[in-house]
């Protein structure tokens, strides 16, 4: 039920909408569910809405943890 794609904000219009990009694909999305969105922020997109900003520090932590557990990729 939870198809959510991480994507980067590349444009903000009027504060309520913006454009995201990931892997060469762009889409206009609604930013009304998150606060203080900025160009360059990573968000999770679900049904055309950004439902949260992604915590990049935590993302790096997860990757670091995996690297430690698995001896690196």
């Amino acid at each position: 039920m939870c198809l959510g794609i991480p994507a980067k904000i590349i444009e903000i219009e009027q504060g309520s909408h913006g454009k995201v990009e990931t892997g060469g694909i762009h889409r206009k999305i609604n930013l009304s569910l998150i606060k203080d969105a900025r160009v360059g922020d990573w968000v999770i997109v679900h049904a055309g809405f950004a439902i949260t900003k992604m915590d990049e520090k935590e993302a790096m932590e997860t990757l670091k943890l995996l690297k430690e557990m698995t001896g690196g990729v």
Binding site: I34, W42, G48, M69
Partner: protein, 367 residues
């Protein structure tokens, strides 16, 4: 960005870690609540690898199309057949659920009426604007992940005074059926993987009753293969230490308090109500309905929909969504019921357990 999370060079060693702990605990039954978790587990072959070490993943009720009861679809079918100048919109899978009269995509609509598949709820605003002479109806299905988006659209429609748009809402909440499943004990669960994106909205707090009242461990889990393994690892560790909790194994997206803005928006537009679920019957306080002040936007109120309908006789989806039986246990699975000729929503929805089990059959796997 997250290619490592699907890479076998990460997944395989992670599995070894799991195996070390699972050895003393198996057999283990973990329910992955979310349909998207089912898809990941099967598409990647993870489910099979885990079974090989005594960890059984059981699909839960997290497929909104699957748990929407026949009565809701019947209401939409009723409208489409008798009311002209309607554009009925919904997400793709919803339109293919079979009923005794056919699916929304397959039935003959009333004159000048049609169905349209949409990707984002925002599209219905444009559709209603571009078709002023028609009534745009949005069959809105989903859990807490989607509810804020729907709430936003309802509020927009109300604020802008849009007269030709209305909603058939079929929105439900995740924690109540978990309580029902754990109370009945039918699924015999050792742990839960909580849905990562529902939890983005509601946080981890709503699941606290699970370890507190039922002593069952759980982890809020993301959707890449490595994410799922990290979630399962957390559950196994909790089992080993005998300290069940609600762990967040998807920290890059989920905070314990969730998304407050989204929660407020849901509260602004919806009231919680007792809701009918396929398989479970009525679960108290498990659904969302439009607040009185938005009632004018309810398709039900506008058109007095008849919700009499039934699905296909013998369909086992009700027991599948509860985790009581696996798809393979349903007598119709793979025979009368298959993707080309589905008999129930679990074989229609892309994340329906039956379709996933059918499409992504694994093979014996030994580490």
């Amino acid at each position: 960005m997250f290619d490592e999370l699907r890479d076998r060079r990460v997944v395989t060693p992670l599995l070894s870690e799991l195996q070390k702990i699972a050895r003393d605990l198996s057999p283990v039954r973990i329910m992955e609540v979310c349909g998207t978790h089912t898809v990941t587990a099967f598409r990647s072959g993870l489910g099979n690898m885990l079974r090989g070490m005594g960890i059984e993943l059981i699909s839960g009720p997290g497929c909104p199309v699957c748990i929407t009861p026949d009565e809701v679809v019947a209401g939409a079918v009723d409208l489409l057949i008798r009311q002209k100048d309607v554009i009925l919109t919904s997400f793709g899978d919803m339109l293919r659920v079979p009923t005794s009269k056919g699916s929304l995509l397959s039935i003959n609509p009333a004159p000048a009426s049609s169905v349209r598949i949409i990707y984002s709820p925002e599209e219905v605003l444009a559709i209603s604007r571009e078709n002023p002479e028609k009534e745009t109806v949005f069959l809105a299905v989903g859990f807490e992940t989607t509810a804020p988006a729907i709430a936003y659209i309802v509020r927009e429609a109300a604020d802008k005074g849009i007269k030709n748009l209305s909603f058939i809402t079929s929105l439900r909440l995740v924690p109540p059926p978990l309580r029902a499943i754990l109370s009945s004990g039918e699924a015999r669960l050792d742990g839960l993987l909580y849905p990562g994106h529902v939890s983005v909205i509601i946080g981890s707090e709503p699941y606290e009753f699970v370890p507190r009242e039922f002593n069952v461990p759980g982890a809020v889990t993301g959707f890449e293969p490595a994410d799922m393994l990290l979630g399962i690892l957390s559950v196994l560790r909790q089992m080993k230490e005998g300290k069940p909790m609600v762990d967040i194994a998807y920290k890059r997206a989920v905070r314990p308090e969730g998304n407050k803005m989204a929660q407020e928006l849901i509260r602004e537009v919806f009231d919680v109500e007792d809701s009918l679920w396929r398989g479970f019957g009525v679960i108290p306080k498990s659904g969302l309905k439009l607040k009185e002040k938005f009632n004018a936007l309810s398709t039900d109120a506008r058109f007095n929909l008849k919700h009499e309908g039934w699905g296909v006789r013998g369909c086992g989806c009700g027991d599948v969504v509860k985790g009581k039986i696996s798809p393979e246990d349903c007598p119709m699975f793979g025979k009368d019921c298959n993707p080309d000729s589905p008999k129930g929503p679990c074989m229609v929805s892309y994340e329906g357990s039956c379709l996933v089990h059918y499409k992504y059959r694994g093979i014996e796997w030994k580490m």
